[in-house]
């Protein structure tokens, strides 16, 4: 056999935005919440895989395996595990990750669907600039979108507000760490405070949304007061509930 000169293997550095699923104790209760959530967003995990964050769970190996099994039954695909014990590692388990950079506040409750990212500001240097003072979050640069967001498109700003001068179509999705402002009709899905911010709000000139969410709390179009349909409105959280009010 001829000896070939050694060829270097090339690795490329690339950073990805991923969602982290952080179960809470007691686990059984958290799983019930997850089931309820999955009922409203079926298919979400077929489009998005997650990092499982077990830092705060004080699990032993068996508990960890049970948790993974529970997720597998729900078709949640785990890309990697953060905060696990390196001794648990095994070939049939997801890899253990070093800790990632957080773009969430520590008190964030629910994770939020993200499909893809169109026109979002993905500048790595700017990404982890969320500063927390008490409960309030100082968001970095807003993302301006000057064209209509079309069906099938997603707009994501993991750093701050999203400001859209046109409409958001049915079948489109807007996700923001901060607030969402839509100066046209909002017909798709809007998720504000998606990384944990209960002060985030959604503003739109005509409320026709398929779904609105603030800090992980959802309302579907059926639940939105019909009197507000096609009206200029804002949505925010009050006493843990979504409150939608009309602008007069």
């Amino acid at each position: 056999m001829s000896v070939r000169p050694t060829q270097a293997i090339r690795f490329k550095g690339r950073s990805y935005f991923s969602l982290t699923l952080a179960p809470e104790l007691p686990l059984a209760e958290w799983q019930n919440r997850l089931d309820a959530w999955l009922e409203r967003s079926p298919g979400f995990f077929s489009r998005n895989s997650v990092i499982l964050d077990v830092r705060d769970l004080a699990l032993d190996k068996d508990g960890f395996l049970t948790l993974l099994e529970g997720l597998r039954e729900r078709a949640v695909r785990v890309l990697g595990v953060e905060g696990g014990n390196a001794d648990w590692a095994g070939p049939d388990l997801p890899p253990f990750m070093p800790s990632g950079k957080d773009v969430r506040t520590p008190d964030s409750e629910t994770e939020t669907p993200v499909e893809a990212c169109v026109g979002a500001n993905r500048d790595e240097a700017q990404a982890p600039t969320l500063a927390t003072t008490g409960n309030a979050i100082r968001h970095a640069s807003p993302l301006f979108i000057d064209s209509p967001v079309r069906s099938g498109q997603s707009v994501l700003n993991p750093d701050g507000d999203v400001i859209i001068t046109g409409a958001v179509a049915s079948g489109a999705e807007v996700v923001a760490a901060g607030s969402i402002h839509v100066y046209g009709a909002l017909r798709g899905r809007a998720m504000a405070g998606a990384y944990g911010d209960e002060t985030a709000r959604i503003f739109c000139r005509s409320l026709e949304a398929e779904l609105i969410a603030v800090n992980g709390l959802y309302q579907t179009s059926d639940e939105i007061d019909p009197a507000l349909r096609k009206k200029p409105a804002q949505a925010r959280l009050k006493h843990g509930m979504i409150l939608v009010t009309k602008f007069d």
């Binding site: 064209s147 209509p148 079309r150 069906s151 099938g152 409409a167 179509a169 049915s170 079948g171 009709a185």
Partner: protein, 271 residues
């Protein structure tokens, strides 16, 4: 240098092929040189609507792969002598088309014709993105119903991201052609209104084509409706749309059923 138009919709069966043939024929009747190009590999239809199905010898894929030259493959219309068809292959796999092959054929057509009109397949997959790839301008076909409009919205998103014009930053021109518009059903509120569709899609309106038996009759005899029954409302609407494409400011007429309907319709809209 001619202008390349793609006729596209996302949703199937909304009238892309009908519109490609009718607008192509209407433009050709003004003396301009027009090529209509079928991109629907495996499901070709344009040859039937043009009444040229028995005259296809070479097709788009033969030209794209260099097995035939364009002159051999172009089929000249028997009624309007500035109208030509480039047929799709019915037997080949749709992966036989490559981006480079399509570019070469489109470039050559652009040199030889005033208008090159590409009939896109339905869907948002490769066939549809190839058909729009080198277009200067798009005619987005929608029917006045929710699913069609949503798919058109999706296609507009692709036009704004996947075409060469969009990538170069120049942007692609888009026109909305609302087809199969039924004034009686519109009056009963059973379809989206023209305003609703325009509001959702927010691109300029090129025309409103009424639902019409004449379209079916024309396709059964293998003639574009704008040639077969020039006096029908559908043909008139296509002819107007073609004139607007040429920059003539033709006032937009809304298809109506009867005068009484007309009154009721506008009464309701004003409310």
């Amino acid at each position: 240098m001619g202008k390349v138009l793609v006729v596209t919709s996302g949703k199937g069966g909304v009238g892309k092929t009908t519109s490609t043939a009718a607008i192509g024929a209407a433009l050709a009747q003004t003396g301009q040189k027009v090529a209509v190009v079928d991109f629907d590999v495996g499901l070709r239809n344009l040859d039937l609507i043009m009444g040229a199905e028995r005259r296809v010898v070479f097709d788009f894929i033969n030209v794209a792969q260099g097995d035939a030259n364009l002159s051999q493959a172009l089929i000249r219309d028997k009624r309007v002598d500035t109208l030509y068809l480039l047929a799709a292959s019915q037997t080949r796999d749709k992966d036989a088309l490559t981006e480079e092959g399509v570019k070469r054929v489109i470039d050559e057509l652009r040199d030889r014709f005033d208008w090159v009109i590409c009939d896109s397949p339905a869907g948002i997959e490769r066939g549809a993105t190839l058909a729009m790839r080198y277009a200067d301008s798009a005619i987005v076909i929608a029917n006045p119903e929710v699913s069609s409009v949503r798919d058109s919205d999706r296609i507009i998103g692709l036009l704004d991201s996947k075409t060469l014009k969009a990538e170069s930053g120049e942007g692609i021109e888009k026109h909305l052609l609302l087809t199969r518009y039924d004034p009686a059903r519109a009056a009963r509120g059973e379809m989206l209104s023209v305003e609703d569709v325009l509001d959702i899609l927010s691109i300029p309106l090129l025309g409103i084509i009424p639902e019409s038996q004449d379209v079916l009759k024309a396709s059964n005899v293998g003639a574009p409706v704008s040639i077969n029954s020039t006096t029908s409302a559908a043909a008139a609407a296509y002819i107007d749309a073609a004139r607007r494409l040429c920059g003539v400011p033709v006032p937009m007429t809304r298809p109506t059923e009867k005068v009484s309907m007309f009154g009721r319709f506008f009464g309701r809209r004003a409310a």
